[in-house]
């Protein structure tokens, strides 16, 4: 009885044991040959109106993927490497939605990117249908994180936070210099971005003792800024605050210089040109001393400096999009590592509970509330001696504010 009982037991043990070992061994054998890869969707507009910025984002994402892989991939998944699946959003929200469908059908674990707010809005919405994690890289509109989408995360600061910080920083910088500026002229593009910003400034700044002399709107594209310069010249403001895209800001600053309009400072917010090294390189004299409240990497972080050097050594221009997308990729890797899985729900949970510090931005550890990283903040930059430096807050600064300028 006893013997028989044992033999049955042994047989059962062997059967289940062999089957179990086979199940366990199969992936191990696979792992031993080639580690599995994790597909990561990178969505950027590399053609169309936002091509320049989308190109920067792509460079950042590529380098982020390379970094993750160089660090040994995702250890919780046996050193699985990231494989970038790139999709061109063609600067168009509808195209972005189609591309998200494509990426999803190719089995990506998450999508990073979007750049422009409309693209980010549409793409994250499309991804939410598959509960596919989506990390917004730059898109600033507040709506992105106000729709209750559980899959959508924004590592960088949004519009309200940027403008609020800009106003606070302006007051602090002006106070620190002995309040040299009292009068302001706002110049803004007449779309949602520029008008919204100007309206907020016009409401807030008078509360802090500034006088808004005029708020000049202009269309995009603008052919001519002579009249704007003329008006500014006649108003003689202490500060000029432009909120426009790249082409118009460059045109405005060139015209101001040509018309010999001088102010104690040019203080931009989320500006297309003032945080773009191309502008600084092409028109060093014009760009010099322009301040901007915008995204920028933390110049105190050696990893950020190293990445910038690597990008520039490859003959590519440096831009904050690169630092943001690079950081987003590391953030995603950290989340997948902690999730120990590429299951959408688990990755979303891991992102939501993320306290990631290994990024390049001046933010501190990540803390997501309803998809927004609450630790994110813009910094004040100023063009000094042909480079873009951080001047405020002081813990990140690599230069002192050159303000007020001599008139």
């Amino acid at each position: 009885m006893t013997t028989r009982h044992t033999s049955i037991n042994r047989r059962t043990f062997i059967k289940t044991g062999v089957a179990g070992a086979a199940v366990l061994a199969a992936p191990a054998v696979l792992r031993a040959q080639t580690p599995p890869t994790i597909k990561v969707g990178v969505l950027q507009p590399v053609t169309g109106a936002f091509a320049m910025d989308g190109g920067f984002g792509r460079v950042g994402a590529e380098m982020g993927v390379a970094k993750v892989n160089a660090m040994g991939g995702i250890k919780a998944l046996g050193g699985a490497k990231f494989e970038m699946i790139f999709a061109d959003a063609r600067s168009n929200p509808e195209v972005a939605v189609q591309e998200v469908e494509q990426l999803n059908s190719r089995g990506v674990a998450a999508i990073v990117g979007g750049f422009a707010s409309p693209v980010c809005l549409a793409a994250s919405q499309a991804a939410s249908r598959y509960n596919l994690p989506y990390i917004v890289d730059v898109g600033v509109t507040d709506q992105i994180i106000q729709r209750g989408l559980k899959n959508t995360f924004r590592f960088s600061p949004g519009f309200s936070l940027c403008t609020r910080t800009a106003i606070e920083n302006l007051i602090k910088i002006n106070d620190a210099a002995g309040k040299p500026a009292k009068t302001i002229v706002l110049v803004h593009e007449d779309g949602l971005f520029g008008s919204g910003l100007a309206k907020m400034m016009a409401e807030e700044l008078p509360k802090h003792g500034f006088e808004i002399l005029d708020s000049i709107s202009h269309p995009t594209p603008a052919r001519d800024m002579s009249n704007v310069a003329l008006r500014i010249r006649s108003l003689k403001p202490d500060l000029i605050i432009p909120s426009s895209y790249y082409g118009e800001t460059v045109l405005l600053c060139r015209t101001l210089r040509q018309q010999r309009v001088r102010a104690k400072g040019i203080f931009a917010v989320l500006n297309g040109a003032a945080s773009n090294l191309r502008f600084v390189r092409e028109f060093p004299d014009v760009a010099e001393n322009i301040m901007d409240c915008n995204h920028w990497h933390d110049p105190q972080k050696p990893a950020a400096i190293a990445l910038r050097q690597e990008v520039e050594a490859a003959g590519k221009p440096w831009n904050y999009n690169i630092a943001l997308n690079f950081s987003d990729m590391l953030l995603l890797a950290d989340a997948i590592e902690r999730a120990g899985s590429v299951d959408h729900e688990k990755v979303i949970e891991a992102l939501a509970s993320s306290t990631f510090e290994g990024h390049l931005m001046p933010y501190g550890p990540t803390k997501f509330v309803d998809g927004q990283n609450m630790g994110a903040a813009p910094v004040m930059t100023q063009v000094q001696k042909g480079d873009i430096n951080v001047i405020f807050p002081e813990e990140f600064a690599d230069a002192k504010a050159n303000y007020p300028l001599e008139i």
Binding site: H218, R223, D224, S226, N227, S234, Y246, Q258, E282, F283
Partner: protein, 290 residues
């Protein structure tokens, strides 16, 4: 509201801007006057010409003004070839086909530019980009004053060419009476292509005069051509003097309405003028009575 000197300066800078509109409109009005078609590829070709200026500047270091004698013949040949070998044969004598072909050409040109140069905004920095002429209380950008001079000279040369030269006479003959012109032995296809070539050559000059003060991207053409259409209608379709005067008037209207109504609303001035001209003087200021 504004001091007199600012208003006067706004008028004068408006004329400087307007002179470039006039130059872009010159080619458009000439092609309309002779071929009786609206050339939708005009804007795209302006963008192409501006990129050519940019490249010659960046690769060979040629000053934009020095490039005028190089680019004018190149664009003339391009325009001639496009009309002679693409638009002419492709239109089968129907005006609506010509419209579609020029539209198609503009799409091709813009996308080729997009593929080569991407949609980056580019500009060049010349020594004189920031130089100004100071006249009393006024400050004028040197590059833009050169632009005005260049435009006026081009218009005068073109006007003399059309009035005096044999080719000019042939062009005028074709524009007046196509059948009659071919009966007296004028090669109408050759005249069409030449006119198209001259239209593009005007763009080459416009591109060289624009780049020292303006930026370029593949969709830049639309920025100027929409206004140029207004200029053509205002001045009278087919009239060279009309294009010149129309350009200056539109420039001043835009500048003043921009000054008083704001830059965004200032664009209204241009289109109100456009509507007013269509209502009260449909043939334009200098156009022949239809």
């Amino acid at each position: 509201m504004y001091s007199m000197s600012i208003v006067v300066e706004a008028i004068l800078t408006g004329m400087l801007t307007g002179s470039v509109y006039a130059l872009v409109a010159l080619g458009l009005t000439l092609v309309y006057g002779v071929l009786h078609i609206i050339n939708f590829s005009h804007g795209a070709m302006l963008a192409a010409a501006m990129f050519a200026v940019l490249m010659l500047n960046q690769v060979f270091g040629l000053d934009p003004y020095v490039q005028i004698p190089i680019l004018v013949p190149v664009l003339f040949v391009a325009g001639y070839a496009i009309q002679r070998f693409i638009i002419g044969p492709g239109s089968h004598g129907k005006d609506e086909n010509i419209l579609m072909i020029t539209l198609g050409i503009s799409i091709v040109i813009e996308n080729v530019l997009l593929a080569i140069f991407r949609s980056d905004i580019r500009s060049i920095n010349t020594d004189y980009s920031f130089n100004v002429f100071e006249v009393g209380p006024f400050i004028f950008s040197q590059a833009r004053v050169f632009g005005l001079i260049g435009s006026v000279v081009t218009a005068v040369v073109l006007w003399i060419f059309l009035a005096r030269s044999d080719t000019g006479k042939a062009i005028r003959a074709v524009s007046k009476e196509k059948l009659g012109a071919s009966l007296v032995g004028i090669n109408v296809n050759h005249v069409y292509a030449t006119t198209f070539g001259i239209g593009f050559a005007c763009l080459a000059i416009a591109a060289c005069l624009l780049l020292p003060t303006f930026y370029v991207n593949p969709s830049i053409g639309g920025t100027f051509v929409l206004v140029a259409f207004t200029v053509v209608v205002l001045g009278g379709m087919g009239s060279i003097v009309g294009a010149m005067m129309g350009g200056l008037i539109i420039g001043v209207v835009e500048s003043l309405s921009g000054l008083f109504l704001g830059e965004s609303l200032g664009q209204i001035g241009i289109f109100l003028t456009f509507i007013a001209v269509l209502l009260f003087r449909p043939a334009g200021l200098f156009g022949a009575k239809a």
